[in-house]
Symmetry: C2
Subunit: 219 residues, 2 copies
C-alpha cells in the first residue's frame, strides 16, 4: 500500500513508541537514500548520517544517548509541570509516551545521527541538514515506520562524537530514532493556519489560507 | 495525477526557472497547510510564513530581494569560476539558469519567507523551521510547481524585516520562490550513498546502503 505525497506530508506524526519489530536493511537503505536526496546549499552535500543498530559500538552509543534522554526528560517533566495533570488528559498521555520513550531508548531498533559541517555558524546551516531529516522521517512513514526529530543528544554531543569518531568540525544536528510505531500515523494538530501564514506583512492573515474541513488544532 | 510519497522525496529538484503561469490560491493554501504540518521542537510552532505575491508591498519586498540575489550571484559567479567553463558543460547550464533566476526574480509568482523565533541561538533552532521548508517544496512538487530553498536574503534581512513588519526577535530562515517549472522535476544527483551513510563510526560505510540501479551522481 503506497501513500500519496501530499497525504504523507500532512499525516506524519512524531512517533516515540515502537514495537519490537526490526527495521529491514532494504527499508533502511531506501530511507537513507531518500534522506540524501534532500537539498543542501549549492548541492555541497556536507551532510553525513551515522546509523546505530545493534553492534557493541551502537549499543554503547545508544546507552550514552539513553542516559542523556532520561536526564532531559526528567528536567522537562518538572519544568513543564507534566506531573500535575489529570491522568486522562492529553498531557498525561504525552507524559506516559515520553516516559516509555526514554526508558526503552536502548531497545529502539535504529537511531540515526545526522551530521553537518557548519559553513556559516548560523541558522542557515540547518538548511543543509534538516530537510534531509524530514525526508528521512517521511520515507520512514512511507515504509510503515515512524521516528522523531530530537535534540536531546546535545548534552553528550562531545562524548558521542568521540565514541563514533565523528570529526570535531562536524555537528550532530539531531538524534532520530526509528522503529515500527505502536500507535498510528495520522493528521497532526497545529495552530489555526491563519495564525501561522501571513500575506505581505506580519500578522496580516493570508485570506486564501484555509485549514481543510475537519482539521483539529492544538490548544 | 498524484505522486507517491517515496517517489516525491527522491525526485524533487531545486527549480529556479519558472513559466509565467500563476500559482492558484487553492494550491498555495494546500502548500502552506503542508508546510505547517512539519514538526517543531515540543510542537511549539514558533514558525510563521510571510507570503509575497503581487501587492505593492510584495513588489517592494521582491525588488529588495531581487537586488540582493543579483549581488550574491555576481559574487558567486566570480568566486566559483562559473564564467570559465565550456558553453555546453553542466556548470554553464547552471550558470545560465542562475542568471535567468536572479534577472527575473521580481516576476516569480510567489516568494515565501519562512520565519522562526530562535530558542537556543544554535543549529538546533533550524529543526523547527527547515522541515517545514522541505514540506513546502514537496507540496509544491505534488501540485505541479517547484521552488528552491535559498539564503540569499541574508544581506538585506534587516531591511526585509522592517518592510514586512517582521519582529526583530524572529529570523528569516530562508527565501523560497515558487512557480510552475520551465524544466522538469526528476531524479536528483548526489554523491554515492556509501560516502554519505556510515554505520557505527565515521567513514565506516553502511554495507546495506545502496544506490538504486540507474542512480546518477555528482562529479
Amino acid at each position: 500500500m503506497t501513500i500519496e505525497l501530499l497525504e504523507g506530508l500532512t499525516t506524519t506524526r512524531a512517533i516515540r513508541r515502537y514495537t519490537t519489530d526490526p527495521v529491514s536493511e532494504d527499508h533502511l537503505s531506501t530511507m537513507l537514500f531518500a534522506a540524501t536526496r534532500a537539498p543542501t546549499g549549492s548541492n555541497r552535500q556536507a551532510f553525513r548520517f551515522v546509523v546505530l543498530r545493534s553492534s557493541p559500538k551502537a549499543q554503547e552509543a545508544k546507552a550514552l544517548l539513553g542516559s542523556a534522554f532520561r536526564s532531559n526528560w526528567e528536567a522537562k517533566r518538572r519544568a513543564d509541570g507534566y506531573d500535575e495533570t489529570e491522568p486522562d488528559s492529553p498531557t498525561a498521555r504525552v507524559r506516559r509516551a515520553l516516559q516509555e520513550f526514554v526508558d526503552g531508548f536502548e531497545s529502539i531498533p535504529v537511531v540515526v545521527l545526522p551530521c553537518i559541517l557548519p559553513r556559516h555558524g548560523q541558522l542557515i546551516d540547518g538548511a543543509s541538514i534538516y530537510p534531509a531529516c524530514q525526508n528521512l522521517l517521511l520515507a520512514a512513514r512511507a515504509l510503515g515506520y515512524g521516528g522523531v526529530l530530537t535534540g536531546w543528544h546535545s548534552s553528550v554531543e562531545d562524548q558521542l562524537k568521540t565514541l563514533c569518531s565523528i570529526p570535531k568540525a562536524y555537528s550532530v544536528a539531531a538524534t532520530i530514532p526509528i522503529g515500527v510505531p505502536k500507535g498510528n500515523h495520522g493528521p497532526v494538530r497545529r495552530k489555526p493556519i491563519q495564525r501561522l501564514v501571513f500575506e505581505d506583512e506580519w500578522d496580516q492573515p493570508a485570506q486564501w489560507a484555509m485549514d481543510p474541513p475537519g482539521t483539529r488544532f492544538t490548544g
